[in-house]
């Protein structure tokens, strides 16, 4: 086991001509020994490229990758002692499960045949696939193939696991099961793991920490709750959370925020955090918007445009003006028992303690929501 360090790692793809593409731009991060780090971002953000550079399948244009104390930039993939799980599972179709799992041990170690067989059996029982050992991949279901792919990585006993969207080909139910199982196995083995996904649910639930990547640039590294409650910038705020955060473009005039349809007075403390930036974006998570009776300083009259009932909650799309054909809406989630119907007027309360304010030009977060000191969230965030 070892820590994995990326120092100013950059990848430029160039096809010989001038139009070079910067896929990964100066990524700095440290994945601690035994940590489960989730690399998340929209498609094309460079997360897979980063993973492939760690695996050695892509060269590193600039910067350094270290596994433990060893610089591995120029080490061949086979000699890095890293195992990878691919999205397509990448099993060898002509080999049985046993042969698939033995292959890596036979090729990369000098293990005796009996020892290989014993190691394979052990890993297979850990994955619960002993009875599949003599079958071929084509005889297995998607979930079973997934297990074999994981087993093939585990059997190598590597210093680090790399996983490239390993659950994206499974159906929703199986994915949820495998999510918890993967965490259990990773905890049991204590192997440093980098997990790439575009699914923010997987990012929130699986990782010790999340690294959010956009256009090749690292946006934030932090615990899931840190990224959720204290996003470093507007991109992270919008990417993490489902339904995603609402944003309003506002302009600060004195101690008030002026939007197209509302005026939002600020407290002294909030005001002080903004410096002299006037072009701002106000962000608030749907679950922080309350539907209350009376309009007030932070409560505005709106109309419900659409309601999406989800059982435990209702997602209400609110708008200030329902007359247009495609009105601009923002989302509020309220309890599933609360009666809300499309077309009814509602007063949306945007509590000042829950708002985030971003610099509209740079996207940087100037003020994040207040976190109550005593409810444990703060501690969870700070303890890291």
């Amino acid at each position: 086991m070892a820590a994995l360090t990326l120092a100013d790692v950059t990848k430029v793809f160039s096809d010989g001509s001038d139009d070079a593409v910067i896929a990964v731009d100066g990524v700095d991060m440290e994945i601690r020994d035994g940590e489960f780090l989730v690399l998340v971002g929209p498609s094309g953000c460079g997360k897979s490229t980063t993973l492939r550079m760690i695996a050695g399948l892509e060269s590193v244009t600039q910067g350094e990758i270290r596994l433990g104390d060893r610089r591995i930039n120029d080490v061949a993939p086979a000699d890095r002692n890293i195992a990878m799980v691919f999205q397509s599972y990448a099993l060898y179709p002509h080999m049985t499960v046993r042969e698939n799992m033995s292959f890596g041990l036979e090729e990369s170690t000098g293990m005796a045949d009996a020892e290989v067989a014993a190691t394979v059996e052990e890993s297979a029982s850990m994955m619960g696939i002993e009875e599949l050992l003599d079958r071929k991949p084509s005889d297995l279901s998607g979930g079973q193939q997934q297990r074999v792919a994981l087993g093939r990585a585990i059997v190598r006993d590597p210093e680090a696991f790399l996983m490239d969207e390993p659950l994206s080909n499974l159906d929703a139910k199986l994915r949820a099961t495998m999510r918890t199982e993967l965490q259990r196995i990773q905890e049991e083995l204590g192997v440093t793991t980098v997990y790439v996904t575009h699914d923010q649910t997987e990012a929130m639930t699986m990782g010790d920490r999340i690294a959010v990547l956009d256009e090749g640039v690292l946006q934030q590294v932090g615990t899931p709750l840190e990224c959720y409650h204290e996003p470093a910038n507007r991109f992270v705020a919008g990417f993490i959370g489902e339904p995603s955060m609402n944003f309003f473009d506002v302009e600060r005039q004195g101690t008030r925020l002026v939007a197209d349809r509302f005026d939002y007075p600020l407290s002294e403390a909030t005001h002080a955090a903004l410096g002299d930036t006037t072009e701002l974006a106000l962000g608030i998570r749907p679950e922080d918007i309350e539907l209350v009776g009376e309009p007030g300083d932070h409560a505005f009259e709106t109309v419900v445009d659409v309601v999406e009932p989800m059982g435990d909650a209702n997602a209400c799309y609110l708008t200030f003006d329902r007359s247009g054909t495609d009105p601009e809406t923002f989302v509020a989630t309220v309890g599933g028992m609360q009666q809300v119907e499309a077309g009814q007027p509602a007063v949306a309360h945007l509590p000042e303690s829950a708002i985030h304010l971003f610099d509209r030009a740079t996207g940087e977060a100037l003020r994040n929501r207040d976190l109550p000191d005593d409810d444990g969230v703060q501690q969870a965030v700070r303890s890291d």
Binding site: A55, G56, L57, P77, A78, D79, I82, A83, M84, F86, Q87, S88, A90, L91, Y92, P93, H94, F103, G104, E107, S108, T109, R152, R156
Partner: protein, 307 residues
């Protein structure tokens, strides 16, 4: 204007008529293709002395049906006698040439497709260009090459003295093996490359991470996954090389090394006339190995064509 609705009968009659027509056409085509072969077979089992050539497609039933000739396997014995040398030479030629062109084609395709290196497209273009070089254009250079440039013949003189079963004239077969391998290589590479392009890139990467070298990946992953394509290539190359006459005439020219297609040209032809039963028996005998190859590799062939 409106049509009366189709009755149950109308709907059944339409497809039935079509089906009958289809089977008539199919039967006609079967007859058309099989009659020459059937005629050849019937001719081949007729005694050459009683063969009249009047009704060659009828079985030889002479005492019973006059004019059809007498049953005899004499022509087959003659064919075997006349072709045995050519059959052996052809086998000595076709097996190594087929295996070599398949194996080298597969390796070339692997190196040009799955392994990444600069300039591989340029090399591949050269391979493809090889497909379009007409046979006729290389006949004279080939003769010059094997007879005047490469001292293969002199190299075989000591070999023939040292080793049993090796004769001096075998140098011509070796020259022909190399020529056919080289000429078959581009099309084999093309076929294998199409197959390898469909293999999962992630699978190859997984093998690299598993510690397999370029040669191990070929031996343990690529080669086992190419078996259906090998069946396609083997059938194709075997038939091509077995049936080839042009290269054989150019390189072997005459003598002990002559292959079956060369022997077939002259068999059963003499100044006193053509011995048709002998010629038919010889033709069928010469075609037999390709049939056997089709039967042996047929199911893998279908798999290879389908993938």
């Amino acid at each position: 204007m409106s049509f009366p609705p189709a009755t149950e009968e109308d709907r059944l009659v339409g497809p039935r008529v079509r089906k009958v027509a289809l089977y008539i056409v199919l039967s006609g085509m079967v007859l058309f293709y099989l009659i020459p072969i059937e005629t050849g077979l019937m001719t081949a089992i007729t005694s050459p002395e009683s063969y009249t050539g009047q009704t060659p497609f009828l079985p030889p039933l002479e005492p019973l049906v006059p004019g059809t000739g007498e049953f005899s396997l004499e022509a087959w014995g003659g064919a075997l006698d006349g072709l045995s040398g050519g059959l052996v030479n052809s086998l000595v030629l076709v097996v190594p040439a087929t295996v070599l062109s398949g194996l080298l084609g597969s390796m070339a395709a692997y190196g040009l497709t799955t392994v990444d290196w600069r300039g591989q497209v340029g090399i591949y273009v050269l391979f493809i260009a090889g497909i379009f070089i007409p046979y006729q254009a290389v006949l004279v250079p080939l003769t010059q090459f094997w007879y005047n440039v490469v001292p293969l013949r002199t190299a075989f003189v000591p070999l023939a003295e040292l080793l049993p079963l090796v004769r001096e004239y075998h140098w011509k077969l070796v020259a022909l093996i190399i020529t056919h391998t080289a000429y078959g290589l581009p099309i084999c590479t093309l076929l294998f490359r199409a197959h390898y392009k469909k293999l999962s890139g992630e699978m190859i990467e997984a093998a690299r991470l598993d510690g397999a070298s370029v040669t191990t990946i070929y031996r343990r992953i690529i080669l086992p996954l190419s078996i259906p394509m090998f069946a396609v290539v083997f059938i194709y190359q075997f038939t091509q090389i077995w049936n080839d006459l042009l290269f054989a005439l150019t390189i072997i020219q005459f003598g002990d090394a002559s292959v079956v297609t060369m022997d077939l040209v002259g068999i059963g032809v003499s100044q006193s006339g053509t011995n048709f039963p002998l010629r038919m028996a010889a033709a069928l005998l010469a075609a037999l190995p390709t049939l056997v190859v089709y039967v042996l590799f047929g199911d893998k062939f279908a798999e290879g064509v389908a993938t």
